[in-house]
């Protein structure tokens, strides 16, 4: 048995080598030799990203930079891309040069040693382009730069202006008013809701907790602390639990065919979402164009306007890239060059993290909101009010716990279950950190 195994292994290795040589189809990662001394050396970079049409933006770069050629490999969204990257890091090969990384994933990627340090490259000079909070997300508050910010998702409130007018509802400025509006909407049509509590979208809930002042992780010397089950998050969970228990807010997940139908038929009258919302609304309910309007988020304290972030991502260079400088150069161009930002806005529909870039490229409201010329003024003001939020090394565990715990809570339609869900989230997150061996305070 042992003999045949060894013979088999040798034969397989030989076969594999032959196959690898014979197969031209895309060996990944520009794992060319690291001979970057010659500036005219042609460099091939691969870039895993999921923003729509990003390849068109990258085309602009490739036209101008024949020596640094970037190929976009479209991914299925943030979670799968990170999963694949982590697996590739574990395997020691197979990672791309660049990856689109959501801000909340950065600590996880850093913990797995998946990202390269950009502080010695041109990317380090981009600090002045971005708001401090965002810069904090890509440096984890230290001197190491892990990623170049691309876009953010300041949250705003989208609502059906026509239905609001018909029902005589004023745009809610506080959460109290939001709750009252939810009751009015549901009373007028028992099938209609002002919104839904989605157990599927942890990022959405995080954004709302952030607005209330939460920051779920923190660094205390050489230890992490987890602050999910604290006042701000409990306040938010209790608020939504109360509305769901009352039956005036729906309890079904977003992004389902059912939700799409409700958007189309006017049964979902509002949506708490982010700056990138118009693209989603247009794709899911194109026929309702011109009926929606954007407003600032309802507030806990109207005198201190705040909002949270939902989504937003950055461009990171992986630890397996052999062309750090070229990759950093590209990432810097993509996220700070005015032409690139304009293209990102036009093709990918993102809200740029670059403050000056956002101002100059977002002059006209998106077509879906042509009825609201000051659309980007509202979003721009919201972007100024985003509070800071620290992500920990096991965001994925916490988000996963959100999915499971709040699914149960939403199903039960009980306020107390929502509050328990917050406690359980905290428990799962802390247990995971301890089990892995992190110091937790």
């Amino acid at each position: 048995m042992r003999k045949s195994f060894r013979a088999g292994a040798v034969a397989m290795l030989a076969a594999a080598t032959m196959l690898a040589a014979g197969c031209s189809a895309g060996s990944t990662a520009g794992s060319q030799s690291a001979a970057t001394s010659d500036p005219n050396q042609k460099v091939e970079l691969t870039y895993w990203a999921w923003a729509p049409n990003l390849d068109k933006v990258v085309e602009l770069w490739n036209e101008k930079n024949p020596n640094i050629h970037v190929t976009v490999n479209k991914q299925d969204g943030g979670d799968p891309a990170v999963t694949k990257l982590l697996t590739a890091v574990k395997a020691g090969s197979g990672a791309p040069d660049l990856i689109q990384a959501e801000y909340q994933k950065i600590p996880t990627l850093v913990a797995a040693d998946a990202l390269a340090d950009l502080s010695g490259t041109v990317a380090n000079d981009t600090k002045s382009h971005f708001p401090d909070g965002v810069w904090n997300d890509v440096t984890l508050g230290g001197d190491t730069l892990y990623s170049v910010p691309q876009d953010t998702g300041p949250m705003v409130f989208y609502y059906r202006a026509d239905i609001f007018e018909k029902l005589g509802i004023a745009v809610p400025k506080t959460w109290e008013e939001y709750a009252a509006a939810a009751k009015t909407v549901h009373a007028a049509d028992p099938e209609a809701y002002l919104g839904t509590f989605s157990s599927n979208d942890a990022g959405w809930f995080t954004g709302m907790a952030q607005q209330a002042g939460a920051s779920w992780w923190g660094v205390d010397g050489d230890a992490w602390n987890v602050k999910i089950a604290e006042d701000p998050t409990e306040k938010v969970a209790g608020f939504w639990g109360g509305l769901v228990e009352e039956g005036v807010i729906d309890n079904k997940p977003m992004y389902t065919p059912e939700w799409n139908t409700a958007l189309n038929t006017g049964k979902q009258v509002g949506w708490l979402s982010a700056a990138w919302g118009p693209g989603v609304l247009e794709g899911n309910a194109g026929a309702t164009a011109g009926m929606w309007k954007a407003a600032p988020m309802p507030q806990w304290d109207a005198s201190k306007p705040a909002t949270g972030n939902w989504g937003g991502s950055s461009t990171a260079v992986t630890s397996q890239s052999k062309n750090l400088d070229a990759a950093a150069k590209f990432a810097t161009w993509l996220n700070t060059d005015p032409e690139a930002i304009k293209a990102l806005v036009k093709e990918a529909g993102i809200y740029p993290a670059d403050t000056a870039g956002a101002e100059s490229s977002l002059t006209e409201a998106p077509a879906f909101f042509s009825n609201q010329p000051d659309f980007y003024k509202i979003v721009g003001e919201a972007a100024q009010n985003v509070g800071s939020f620290t992500y920990g090394p096991n965001v994925n565990v916490a988000y996963n716990a959100y999915n499971d715990q709040f699914a149960k809570a939403a199903q039960s339609k009980q306020k107390s279950a929502f509050l328990d869900a917050v406690k359980n989230m905290q428990q799962v997150t802390v247990d995971d950190l301890k089990k892995t061996g992190f110091t937790v305070k």
Binding site: D113, E258, G437
Partner: protein
């Protein structure tokens, strides 16, 4: 593995080699093994080695120092049986096992029952539209589970389902199949839809292999069609029934794609609904391959034991007279 013992191996009787050759080492050992080499090598590289690798991973764990953020602050360490202990005492894992057992207890009798019914009807001389029905019932087998779950998801969601729409026209409100107490049936239905045709074909093939003289004799003895089916046909195809049951059980324990695709549509499915979903979550969402590896080994062992016991039990009953 006891599978070979389900029937007297036909290969055993074919030692037709002449004694002169049989003594020859080349033809007795070298030739068969060299012909088996492609299969054995592929098996070793793509199944045995990954399993061993999984076994190795299952005895390890991640070790972190401090904040775990700097280079080299995370390493792997020997875990002993820790991963197995936590897998076997994890209420989430035990819950997922229970759910899947319930699911199997509902699905397998339904699937095999309908498959057998359809196969017998196809075989009956008094049934018409046989080839149309056979093709139609078999067709779903060609639809990947990811796609079929998406289609059924549309048909389940009360807001878009034609069934709920029609019920509402008559002033009724149907319960949602995605509610927590019904969701197991929703998943069963997708698996039933995709699998009944395949099992039907397997049974139908066995029925076709039976010489028709037997039926004619039964008819002359005055057996009705139903009596013939119960007294003659079913016992004759018993070995096929055993094998379809076995493979259905293995597939049941591995259920993954259907609940994973349905999960985002409702609040009733957790990310650890089935044991394999739990493995997937640990390995990919929680980035903990070590726990996932231990759970995988437990699942594989459980599958093995269940298959083995099942064959032991049915073998005694179904094949008792042959042995």
């Amino acid at each position: 593995m006891a599978m070979t013992e389900t029937r007297p191996g036909p290969a055993a009787g074919t030692t037709a080699d002449t004694p002169r050759r049989a003594k020859n080492f080349t033809s007795r050992v070298l030739i068969p093994y060299s012909m088996l080499a492609p299969g054995i090598i592929l098996f070793l590289v793509f199944m045995a080695a990954p399993i061993i690798y999984t076994l190795v991973l299952s005895f390890q764990k991640k070790k972190v120092s401090g904040l775990g953020l700097g280079k080299g602050s995370q390493s792997t360490a020997f875990a002993g049986l820790d991963n197995y202990v936590s897998a076997l005492t994890d209420p989430e894992f035990l819950g997922s096992v229970l759910r899947v057992l319930t699911y199997g207890l509902i699905l397998i009798p339904l699937m095999l029952g309908f498959a057998l019914l359809f196969a017998l009807l196809l075989d009956s001389r008094r049934t018409r539209a046989g080839s149309f029905s056979r093709t139609a019932i078999f067709l779903p087998y060609a639809v990947p589970a990811v796609i079929s779950s998406l289609l059924w998801g549309f048909l389940y969601l009360p807001g878009v389902s034609p069934f709920h729409f029609l019920a509402r026209q008559f002033g009724m409100e149907l319960p949602s199949l995605l509610d927590p107490n019904l969701v197991t049936f929703a998943i069963c239905n997708i698996a039933l839809w995709g699998g009944v045709g395949f099992n039907m074909i397997v049974m139908y093939t066995s029925l076709k292999a039976v010489p028709s003289e037997i039926y004619e004799a039964a008819k002359l003895d005055g057996c009705s069609e139903i009596q013939t089916a119960i007294r003659i046909k079913i016992p004759i195809i018993a070995p096929s029934l055993v094998m379809t049951a076995l493979f259905s059980m293995i597939a049941t324990l591995q259920v993954f794609a259907e609940p994973t695709t349905l999960r985002p549509l409702a609040n009733s499915l957790s990310t650890s609904w089935s044991p394999l979903m739990l493995v997937y979550r640990d390995a990919f969402t929680r980035n903990d391959v070590f726990s996932a590896a231990a759970t995988s080994i437990v699942i594989a062992l459980a599958t093995f034991i269940i298959s083995f016991l099942f064959l032991r039990i049915v073998q005694k009953r179904a094949f008792g007279q042959e042995n």
